[in-house]
Amino acid sequence: MVQHHPPTDFLTEYAASALPVAQSACVAAHLSYCQRCRQAVERLEDIGGAHFERLDPQPVGDSLLERVLARLDDPQPLRYAPNEASDTQLPGLLDRLINGDYADLVWKRVTQSLSVSYLKTGDPNHEFALYRIAEGGRIPEHTHGGREMTLVLHGGFADESGDYHQGDFIVREGWDKHTPVALEGEECICLAVMDAPLQFTRLRHRWLNPLLKLHAG
């Protein structure tokens, strides 16, 4: 049961297609776990529908109708087929970005219990990355230079403000300091979308900071 949800601000911008693509993908992935937010988005889309039907109609010539009618029988473009062999049971969108299993990705080790894999969304301002924490492993205390959205994909973690499990969505602002620890029993994999790099705060981890420069794109 998902306990932590995106704030209504984000859902509204999501429903209006006003979020950058990386953040939008993170919200979409949460929706695949969360019926409550799916319904909220449907209601927020109704607000869009109500505005849409009251727009001041702009003239459209009959030639445009003729052109559309002439193209109705064109073959439809091919759609992406989900990866049947994948055993990660990921939301379709992430399945597409990962294109295989977690093991197929390039993982970069940050500390003994933390590795990161950067995925490409094309978003020039946001990093879209998977973080993998070994069971019981700890991410050293850090802040974020900007805003971070996190979605738990597998396992769970705890930090100073609570416990998070599969499907939970967490937003952190730059000034929040926290020390996530993966729950016991299984490794934890999270999706994180950031607009500024992670910054370790403790002296003994700070030398790692240059390794974590933002990988947007």
Binding site: T12, A16, R43, G49, V68, L72, L97, G217
Partner: protein, 200 residues
């Protein structure tokens, strides 16, 4: 902003009759079930001018791109009509989501945005929802339309900017020369009001 204005300059929010909404839902069902070109043509004549208005909202697309968007959206309407469920969504909301996705993709194409994701990839596969959920959703859609007119103009203006122009809260704040906090609180108040009234 291309929302119809009344004599006092305020947006007009007359609630449409139930029959009108049903007419477009029925046309969509005919298109989906029997590829009815007559129903599609009626649907086109009503919605294409709205899609064009949507394309031109915020005037970031040229007239040529707006016409291209109308074509793309109406072709998608034809292809996807089979998946339209009149119990679950209002026809206007359904077309809005298609137009929104196509416009987002067009913006990204025009900005030479290198992404493998199309806005359609963000849509979840439709699934069977329990019937009480469906009833709630449908009633909600009708209520939103009725209640929109009860919002104060400053809240209505920002909602229109966010939804029709696809502007983020910070972009809306910059364009309206308002602090970001003001924009956020107006959107939040408007949404709360609509949700509160929907549940009442």
């Amino acid at each position: 902003m291309a929302i119809r204005k009344d004599a006092n300059g305020g947006a007009k929010w007359n609630a449409p009759t139930g029959r009108r909404t049903d007419e477009w839902s029925q046309a969509l069902v005919l298109v989906g079930e029997s590829q009815d070109r007559g129903a599609f043509t009626r649907f086109f004549r009503h919605f294409a001018p709205l899609i064009k208005a949507f394309a031109l909202s915020g005037s970031s697309l040229s007239a040529a791109h707006a016409d291209e968007l109308v074509q793309e959206v109406m072709l998608k309407v034809w292809q996807k009509a089979g998946g339209f469920n009149p119990e679950k969504a209002a026809a206007s909301t359904w077309v809005y989501t298609i137009a929104r996705n196509c416009r987002t993709d067009m913006f990204r194409r025009l900005q030479k945005f290198d992404t493998q994701l199309a806005a359609d990839d963000f849509e979840l596969e439709s699934e069977e929802e329990e019937s009480f959920v469906v009833l709630h959703t449908r009633r909600g859609a009708e209520r939103v339309r009725e209640l929109m007119g009860e919002l104060p103009p400053d809240q209505a203006q920002i909602l229109a900017k966010v939804y029709m122009e696809g502007k983020s809260h910070s972009e809306a704040a910059a364009e309206l020369d308002l602090p970001l906090g003001t924009v956020k609180s107006r959107v939040r108040l408007a949404i709360q009001k609509l949700q509160g009234m929907m549940e009442a």
